[in-house]
Symmetry: C2
Subunit: 153 residues, 2 copies
C-alpha cells in the first residue's frame, strides 16, 4: 500500500506540476536571501517593503500601505508597532478623520534610506538583469490576475 500512486503523465497532484509551489519556494528562498542583508539595517523583509513605500511618499495611512503591499491591518498593525518601537516610524491619528492612522518616518527612518541603497545590488548579485526583468513582468501579471476581484476566475 505504499509507493507510486498514479501514472506520471496525467496526475494533477504531482508537486512538479503545481504552479503555486515554485512560487512558494522562491518566496521562502528570497526571504532567506534578504534576511542577512537586511539584518544590519534592523529590518525584516516586510518591514523593508514598508520602508520602500514610505521612502516614495509619506505619510500614508495604514490602509494605503496595505493596498500597496496587499496586506491587511491584522498584519500591518503589529508590524508598524514594532517599527515604531525601533524608532523608524511614527503613528499618529489623522485629525481629519480619527479612524485613520498616519504612518510617517522619523529622522532615523529617513536616514536609513542611505544605508538601504546598496540592498538591491547586493541581492541581485551576479544574476542576469534580463532574466530578472522577464521574471518580474511575468509575476506582476500573475499578481494582477490574482488581485482582481473574484480572483481572476
Amino acid at each position: 500500500m505504499t509507493g507510486k500512486v498514479a501514472a506520471p503523465g496525467d496526475d494533477p497532484l504531482l508537486l512538479d506540476r503545481q504552479v503555486c509551489f515554485p512560487l512558494y519556494a522562491a518566496t521562502n528562498l528570497l526571504n532567506r536571501l534578504y534576511g542577512p542583508v537586511l539584518r544590519p539595517l534592523g529590518l525584516t523583509y516586510p518591514q523593508y517593503l514598508v520602508m520602500l513605500v514610505l521612502w516614495e511618499e509619506e505619510p500614508q495611512t495604514v490602509g494605503a500601505l496595505g493596498a500597496r503591499l496587499y496586506l491587511d491591518s491584522g498584519t500591518l498593525t503589529p508590524l508598524l508597532k514594532r517599527m515604531e518601537q525601533a524608532g523608524l516610524v511614527r503613528r499618529t491619528r489623522d485629525a481629519e478623520d480619527e479612524r485613520r492612522v498616519l504612518i510617517g518616518l522619523t529622522e532615523r527612518g529617513r536616514a536609513l534610506r542611505a544605508d538601504a541603497l546598496h540592498v538591491p545590488e547586493t541581492i541581485a548579485g551576479g544574476r542576469s538583469p534580463e532574466g530578472l526583468d522577464q521574471l518580474r513582468e511575468g509575476v506582476r501579471k500573475l499578481v494582477a490576475m490574482l488581485a482582481a476581484p473574484g480572483g481572476a476566475g
Copy 2:
C-alpha cells in the same frame, strides 16, 4: 521634508522595480486563494504540499520532505505534529537509524487524496494554461538559481 525623494528613472529603491515584491505579493495572494479550497480538506497550504509529496511516495524522512519543499525541521516538526494530531500522518523513528523520523500516511491520509483531486482544477479556474506553464517554468528557474549553493551569486 515629506514627499518624493529621488528621480523616478534611476531610483533602485522604488517598489515597482523590485523583483522580490511581486513574488512576495503573489505568494500571499495564492495562499489566500488556496485557503478556502483546502479548508474543507482540513489542510493548510504547506500541509497540502506535504501531502502532495507523500502521495507521490511514502514513507519519507523529515529531511527528505524538507529537501523537496525547501523547509527545515524548525518548520516541519510542528507542522507534522499537527498533521499527526489530525490523523493524516504517522511519525515513527527509523529502526535503521534512530536519528531519522519516518513520515507515513494513515488510511485517512491516503483516502484524502480522492478529495484533493479537484483542487488544482478549482484553483486554476479560468486561467490560461499556457500562461501558467510559462510562469511555472520562469519561477522554477529562479528557484534553481536561488537554491544553488551560494545563492546563485
